[in-house]
């Protein structure tokens, strides 16, 4: 009897009184069908859920539509002759509590469905005269047939609490007025899709910056991904040439530069390229330039510098990753091409590149996504600057660093959340389209 085939409706219509009772008193079906320990556990879950709901949950849910109404304030206490301060409602806490209450309800609904199905399956087992698994057998099963439950439970709980709940919370923030603007840091309200319209509206100040940042983010991601990919592969090919001496030594030189933690190298680069930093000093001492090069204050130069430094960071990574795959390319392909008189460049574009694109498509997509979300490189190198007067976004800010500035520095939480959501939508679209076109889409065992 496969428990997953049973529907709740079946459990309600075909169940005996115990099974039906468990629709209200969860766990009754197990208590009445020789699984007392599990039944009590489920019952305890239900009881604590109701205790939570009446103690706190209902209040949290009821506050959710208004997000609090009482502002912070003070009142005159006649008896003591002093002003008494009261804290008022904190919308941010109300929103978080409301989101948690929603998750608690969803969890209890899932548990309810599972125990209804389980009750009917137990009932049928007894009716068919088969054994009901004892507690000891169930516990043993957790190490065998149900091992996945044992192994996945804690990691999943962690992801749920510290990844899914925060995401839902942040997403809901996008639809509020939670922002420094108009003193909405303590008490804010639902705002519909106004913030989305504001961000997408090209005429407004925020909208203008958004489209600027978006355009640069896309340009950056394309350059960072494909230049790294092509040049890294070229480097790997050059090192792995038959006639190159000291392959291990060269590989070591390049790998050493990524073995140093990235945030350290990025901070060093930032300092080296300052107007009085090491590179400008070196060039000036050599007499190549008379004025320091404004690497971080000229928009165009800052953008180019970032892309070039990212090449410095990224090429050894690509080299490391593609070396193994390059060696898997069948040698006959190369030999046949050489027979036909193809030169190295032609061989690269006609054989190596198509083969690599075929095999490494998922890797390319992943690195495109991580470049769009590349916080460290931008934040530690240019800090998003140079920034125009009156703007919150600098000329080299990506969506993700702008998101950081808007939330942490400016406290425009709602705008930050909107930008996070838009980034996600863009990335999802790109990923779906490219995955569906790539040849490895169906073949789950090979990648993912």
């Amino acid at each position: 009897m496969n428990e997953e085939r049973i529907t709740v409706r079946e459990a309600l219509t075909e169940g005996d009184w115990c099974t039906r009772l468990s629709a209200v008193v969860m766990g009754a079906g197990m208590l009445g069908h020789r699984q007392r320990a599990k039944g009590l556990l489920v019952l305890a879950c239900e009881v604590s859920f109701w205790l939570y709901l009446f103690g706190k949950g209902f209040h949290d849910l009821a506050m959710l539509p208004s997000l609090g109404t009482e502002g912070q304030g003070k009142s005159w206490n006649e008896a003591k002759q002093v002003f008494e301060y009261f804290s008022g409602d904190n919308s941010q806490q109300i929103l978080l509590a409301g989101v948690i209450a929603c998750f608690a309800i969803a969890a209890i609904v899932v548990l309810w469905v599972v125990q209804m199905r389980h009750s009917l399956s137990l009932q049928r087992r007894i009716e068919e005269g088969r054994d009901v698994p004892t507690l000891a057998q169930d516990l043993k099963g957790l190490l065998d047939a149900n091992l996945h439950v044992t192994l996945m439970a804690l990691p999943c709980a962690g992801i749920l609490v510290f990844n899914v709940v925060p995401l839902v919370y942040m997403i809901s923030m996008a639809f509020t007025t939670y922002s420094k603007e108009g003193e909405h840091l303590l008490l804010f309200d639902w705002d519909g899709i106004n913030q989305f319209l504001r961000v997408l509206n090209m005429g407004g100040n925020i909208g203008r910056q958004f489209w600027h940042v978006l355009a640069w983010t896309v340009v950056w991601a394309i350059f960072a991904t494909f230049l790294n990919y092509l040049l890294g592969m070229a480097l790997a090919l050059v090192i792995n040439r038959k006639d190159t001496k000291g392959k291990a030594f060269w590989r070591f030189c390049f790998v050493l530069s990524i073995a140093v933690p990235q945030f350290v190298t990025l901070m060093i680069m930032n300092i080296m390229l300052q107007p009085s930093g090491a590179l400008n000093v070196l060039l000036q001492n050599l007499g190549l330039i008379s004025e320091p090069i404004p690497f971080w204050t000229n928009t165009m130069l800052a953008r180019v510098t970032i892309i070039v430094i990212n090449l410095w960071v990224g090429i050894p990574y690509t080299m490391l990753q593609v070396t193994g795959i390059l060696q898997n390319i069948p040698a006959e392909l190369y030999e046949a091409a050489k027979m036909d008189g193809a030169g190295p460049v032609r061989i690269f574009f006609k054989i190596t590149l198509p083969y690599m694109l075929f095999v490494t498509m998922p890797y390319l997509i992943t690195s495109f996504v991580s470049n769009i979300n590349n916080f460290n490189v931008i934040y530690l190198l240019s800090g998003g600057g140079p920034t125009m007067v009156g703007d919150t976004a600098g000329q080299t800010d990506l969506l993700v660093t702008w998101l950081y500035k808007l939330t942490i520095d400016q406290q425009y939480y709602n705008l930050g959340a909107v930008i996070g959501i838009i980034t996600f939508v863009i990335l999802t679209a790109i990923t779906l389209v490219t995955y569906r076109r790539s040849s490895s889409y169906q073949d789950e065992e090979a990648f993912m």
Binding site: E4, Q92, L96, D144, L147, H148, L151, M152, L154, P155, C156, I159, V161, F162, N163, V165, P166, L167, Y169, I239, R241, D243, T244, K245, F252, C253, F254, V255, L256, S257, A259, V260, P261, F263, V264, T265, M267, I268, N270, I271, V281, L282, N285, L320, Q321, I325, N328, Y363, N373, F375, N376, V400, L403, T407, T423, T428, T431, E444, F447, M448
Partner: protein, 290 residues
């Protein structure tokens, strides 16, 4: 006539070879120069961030001495201790999580397997920073954002998200032939025994890889630690401490110490990285056979 015809391609080959090696040498210098520069700077005798010469004029060990003994403003030994505690605890827990999830997804078949993998992919598409603000609020509700609880907060978050980073380990487990598992199960082994007695011993490289990556994560994580620690200087991890040394108020006094700290931190991390790079490569290309 004959000999020149034979020599011609080989001399051209020699020129190409020479060019390739010169090119590699130039590139290697470009790649190693910043690292050499920071090592030299860490021994520099002149203070301050910017000097008028590319190479230091005098050399000293004082930067290292100051870094390790000056405990008044930026307490590097304390930061080192904080990071070490965090990384040891989170290393143990995250390794268990990653291996457990990777084994389940690779070897066990259950209904939520595919949905889980899809969900992990979708969660990976959100900007990582977006969840951090909310994670901070949740930790605040749990009282893990004040005093020495910050360390617990960091550990909890590092471990909680570990279950999403299963891809490389799963790829490795996928390459171990299933027939080994099946034979063991016919001999009466439970799946738990297959996991602990067969799969794990066969996967030593990936276990080492997972242990090392999760050990290194707190040393190089900069952004979440910064969000959580804020101004609590006694809770700083090494990454934030180094970052602070480059801020306006400290940079003149601390720049050469920053270089010394960067060198000290980079040596063990670089050693770990160089040691495990082949597992990384193998995990990427899926070329490992059990």
């Amino acid at each position: 006539m004959n000999t020149t015809a034979k020599n011609k391609p080989s001399s051209r080959k020699r020129v190409t070879n020479l060019l390739v090696h010169v090119l590699l040498a130039v590139l290697a210098i470009i790649w190693l120069a910043p690292i050499a520069w920071i090592v030299l700077t860490s021994f520099r005798a002149e203070p301050g961030a910017y000097t008028s010469t590319f190479l230091p004029q005098g050399y000293t060990l004082d930067n290292y001495v100051k870094l390790l003994t000056d405990r008044t403003v930026l307490d590097f030994p304390k930061m080192f201790g904080n990071t070490l505690i965090i990384s040891i605890v989170s290393c143990v827990v995250s390794t268990l999580f990653v291996l457990a999830v990777a084994f389940s997804l690779s070897r066990l078949r259950f209904r939520l397997r595919k949905p889980y993998m899809n969900a992990a992919m979708i969660l990976g598409l959100f900007p990582g920073f977006m969840t951090m603000v909310a994670q901070y609020f949740i930790l605040k509700d749990m009282g893990l954002t004040e005093g020495s609880n910050i360390r617990i907060g960091l550990i909890v978050v590092y471990c909680a998200c570990a279950g999403l980073g299963f891809q490389i380990s799963k790829g490795y487990f996928d390459t171990i032939p299933r027939s080994i598992d099946e034979a063991a199960i016919i001999d009466g082994a439970t799946k738990w025994q297959v996991f602990t007695r067969i799969t794990l011993p066969l996967s030593k490289p990936i276990v080492i890889y997972t242990v090392m990556t999760s050990f290194m994560a707190p040393w190089v994580d900069f952004i979440f630690a910064k969000v959580l620690c804020r101004a609590n200087a006694d809770q700083f991890t090494v990454a934030i401490g180094l970052w602070n040394m480059l801020q306006k108020e400290y940079i003149y006094q601390w720049y050469t110490c920053f270089a010394a700290g960067a060198v000290l931190i980079s040596i063990p991390i670089a050693a770990l990285f160089l040691y495990m790079q082949r597992y990384y490569v193998e995990g990427m290309s899926g070329a490992v056979k059990g």
